[in-house]
Symmetry: C2
Subunit: 349 residues, 2 copies
């Protein structure tokens, strides 16, 4: 089969690799229907996280189950499944607590599992999915093609935006600010609206992203950043600040923006992977009773609820995909994300 | 009247000062029935926070209203009142959000108010209380002397321990760890139990404090600290960690203890004033989805609920007072706290 490997900075190649096979009784073999490029894939692409050797890449995918191992009970050949970005057993104490990303048997797409077998990357034609029962969620029936983009977001960005909103305690009547206009931030707008926020303020300076934010329910767009951005949020909230702020970037500047935008007693939900700003200013948080929660999103646990809303048409997070590439053009899909000519790129094998 | 002033490190004096009088229509004049020494009073006492000039001190008090200004509506002469450690108007957006410590007109005992009038310190015979309607809570009737210590804790330490528990999201079925065995930590044990925690683990290495922790509902005492303390918590929780951790100290070491004791997805409620460890390690919090909330406790909002439980006998937080001094011996009350021969000292004028 063909699969994507990253060889180094800005060196993405689609290559012929061995077809995956069932290796363990808990495995499922999946034919990928759609995958995509994640903002976090850009770290090795940009050389921020150096690539030591050619490595399979991609961790968001939906597909059709081709075959399952002897122990698999919850999915079967022919099922359409959503595969979250982290593999989990679904039975350990952390999974039972809903924190599948801390699974004691947790694994990651594109790496070796603990038995020494490769777990394929998502940006390919097929993947072997270990711990299929814990990891995969099947849809009730094979969905229409039109639903595929939205279903694909449940593997990462929609669940991650939702995690930011849940971690910030978003609920009815609240004013919510979303810092970050990438696919996750935009999904955060949608999630905040879905959870009943009264007013959603999206911070964005790009017309295309502002448009999606509006479609997802943002009432106000704030283009200012830094101190000016904080001042604008204060103006919009009668000098008080927002009840909840979703930090969907992960830089020191974006966290400062989030803290400055939160009212005393308010909550920040953060899902931007911490880069650069590796600490939080506890003195400021203490004096204003601002709480900070979130982290690497345990999206597996959120899929069933969000799936219901995608299938009913209540939410359409697939709008974050504004460009589609054939797998053969995967390098272009990376380039479009890197150069910001696309918000998020979808790949079809 | 007589009131306590701090002149410098370890220099506490009871002095004759002018009798306070009603200065503003929102004032109340209170005869202090009991006050006490706070752990935070030990900062200037120990020279950690230098004293520039002789200053009134003390911020926890209960007493009888002697007189009120023309605009005061919620308390009257003869009422027994609880005065929280922060004065607030009760009407600004932050007060309405329950964060009275961020009141836009907020004031502090022992300082000048915005009109230039002295707000007396709590460790004296009388105080002028500005913003009486927003700040003070009257009991339904003048309580028995036996209830006074518990009522006095509602001015600070019980409300602060409760804030730690609320900020950590303590609820039924949870395992809760309390870091810190001062009066606030002990009240945190009581608050966690009151909020329905299934199992409360108190970290303490002092027999007298362990005994109070047990009386307040701690199931297990852990005397180990640092890595050993974390290891012990892990052992006690099947390797998982606690659902909620109350950080009631405020040092870098105690926060590390708290973070190490929290399970993935768990919550830390912190009320220890940050000293030394002024930042939080966001990378560790992110990877484990540990949230951190809390801060300077808005105790005013908690008084009505906690008061109900004190008056009914459901809780008896006054047990944190293990020594009583006459106001004339206030310097001894400080020394007992400083030398840790007492957990918390009560003062009677």
């Amino acid at each position: 089969m063909r699969a994507t490997l990253i060889h180094g900075s800005r060196d993405i190649r689609l290559e012929d690799v061995p077809d995956p096979q069932i290796q363990l009784p808990g495995d499922a073999l999946i034919r990928v229907v759609a995958s995509c490029v994640c903002g976090s894939d850009l770290w090795p692409y940009r050389g921020v996280r150096p690539v030591k050797e050619p490595t399979r890449i991609g961790h968001e995918l939906v597909g059709i189950v081709e075959e399952v191992g002897a122990d698999v009970r919850t999915v079967k050949a022919g099922d359409f499944v959503i595969a979250p970005f982290a593999l989990s057993d679904g039975t350990c104490p952390h999974c039972r607590n809903g924190i599948h990303t801390s699974c004691v048997h947790g694994q990651w797409w594109g790496s070796q599992d603990k038995n020494g077998f490769l777990v394929d990357g998502g940006q390919g034609e097929y993947v072997r999915a270990p711990m299929a029962d814990g990891t995969l969620v099947a849809t009730p029936e094979v969905p229409d093609d039109a639903l595929v983009p939205s279903l694909l977001t449940l593997s990462d960005v929609m669940g991650t935006g939702h995690h930011a909103a849940v971690s910030a305690g978003v609920g009815p009547g609240q004013t919510v600010v979303v810092v970050g206009d990438g696919a996750v931030g935009l999904c955060g707008v949608l999630a905040a609206r879905r959870l009943g926020a009264e007013r959603v303020i999206a911070m964005s300076r790009h017309a295309d992203r502002q448009a999606v934010a509006r479609q997802f329910g943002a009432d106000v767009i704030v283009a200012e950043r830094g101190d000016e951005g904080v001042e604008r949020i204060k103006e919009l909230t009668g000098g008080v600040g927002a009840d909840a702020v979703l930090e969907c970037v992960g830089t020191k500047e974006s966290m400062a923006q989030a803290i400055g935008s939160t009212r005393p007693g308010g909550r920040i939900g953060y899902v931007g992977v911490p880069a650069g700003g590796s600490e939080l200013p506890i003195g400021k948080l203490f004096s204003s009773n601002i709480s900070v929660g979130g982290g690497v999103a345990p999206v597996r646990g959120y899929i069933p609820d969000l799936l219901t809303d995608v299938l009913s048409g209540a939410i359409d997070p697939g709008k974050v995909f504004d460009a589609t590439f054939a797998l053969a053009d995967v390098a272009d899909a990376y380039r479009a994300m890197d150069e910001r000519t696309a918000i998020k790129t979808l790949l079809t094998p």
